[in-house]
């Protein structure tokens, strides 16, 4: 990817992010009530989107070919267990990442 293209993609992402942040103030800043289906989506969409993003991150695994996604599944399990145990985002992320790096560099080479 050329630098210009990369800069354009970053600009697109920046503009869309800013739009999302500004839209409610532009359209609902007055006295109009928020449409109920927006309020509803605001409640349920974040859960579904994070689920989607987890799958997106794991799209590269090959269940039918060695190592059958084992490093990813073990590291995800480590993150879940760490988070259930300490409920500290930083510990969960750092622990899971170190676990994954060890798995792919030393165990499933």
């Amino acid at each position: 990817m050329t630098d210009t293209r990369a800069a354009i993609l970053i600009a697109v992402s920046a503009i869309v992010t800013a739009l999302l942040r500004f839209l409610p103030f532009l359209f609902l800043g007055g006295k109009r009530k928020t449409p109920e289906f927006i309020t509803y989506l605001g409640k349920v969409l974040p859960f579904a989107i994070i689920g989607m993003l987890v799958v997106y991150c794991l799209r590269g695994i090959t269940p039918l070919v060695w190592p059958h996604g084992l490093p990813e599944l073990l590291a995800v399990a480590a993150v879940v267990l760490l988070h259930l145990w300490r409920r500290n985002t930083l510990i969960s992320i750092a622990g899971g990442t170190v676990c994954y790096m060890i798995l792919i560099q030393f165990v499933f080479r």
Partner: protein
């Protein structure tokens, strides 16, 4: 602007400081390793300023994503910001010249600090919100610049460090799972995406997944939407929202 207020702001933002410096650092390393050094990391942290989106941005850049898929991915990943905005409309009213920046800098973490609403006594709330927002972005920028600088100095094998993004999302998923009223949206998000991944393959599945998730959630609204109003006014509320949807197209 008093010294006391600045001190109060820094104390208040310490949790975000540690989180942002560490997560920003991870982002900086990831960007540098993908060939996007300090200048790029800095630009993303200044202009995009959305944590999980910036992690995703690195993989979009390296996979040669299109403008449309970048825009759609940003739309879906950051859609939650619409709802932060909705809940801050009242609080940010009358902020004057500070308002555009307050809105721009409304990240998950900043939202969690400003929506709690405990402005220090005697302080101008909008000045306080502004300082909190500004400090948070400074922490994020410092973290990502340090990470990008360290990335070029790190000589050990960093293969697998990109798992930090997966770990971030898994952590958020678990956190949401523990606090959600219903697990259906989370499960639907995972299952729909897996089906689309199998059907469309690793390069094309994200957009159909997004549309299917939106469609299914809207279709399941009757079952998933927990009533906020007492049952007696239910008929009137339904009529209201039908009216609003009808008028929503103009």
């Amino acid at each position: 602007m008093s010294r006391k207020l600045i001190k109060q702001v820094i104390i208040k933002t310490i949790p975000v400081m540690t989180g942002y410096i560490v997560l920003g650092f991870g982002f900086g390393i990831l960007a540098e390793k993908a060939g996007y050094g300090v200048g790029w990391a800095l630009a993303m942290s200044v202009f995009i300023y959305a944590g999980s989106m910036q992690y995703l941005m690195v993989s979009l850049l390296t996979s040669g994503a299109s403008v449309i898929s970048t825009a759609l991915a940003t739309l879906m990943v950051n859609a939650r910001h619409l709802f932060y905005g909705v809940s801050m409309i009242e609080r940010y009213k009358g902020a004057g010249k500070k308002k555009p920046y307050l809105i721009f800098a409304l990240t998950d973490e900043t939202y969690s600090l400003v929506c709690s609403g405990d402005t220090p006594e005697g302080a101008n709330p909008h000045l306080y919100y502004f300082l909190v927002s500004f400090c948070d972005q400074i922490y994020w920028i410092i973290g990502s610049v340090l990470g990008a600088l360290a990335g070029s100095a790190i000589t050990f094998n960093t293969a697998g460090i990109d798992f930090a993004m997966t770990a971030l999302f898994v952590t958020v998923f678990v956190e949401q799972w523990l606090t959600a009223d219903s697990h259906i949206p989370a499960v639907a998000g995972v299952i729909i995406t897996v089906i689309c991944l199998v059907l469309f393959g690793g390069d094309l599945f994200l957009i159909p997944s997004m549309f299917l998730i939106l469609t299914c959630l809207l279709a399941g609204r009757g079952k998933l939407d927990t009533p906020v109003k007492p049952p007696l006014s239910g008929g009137a509320a339904a009529a209201d929202s039908a009216l609003e949807r009808g008028n929503g197209h103009d």
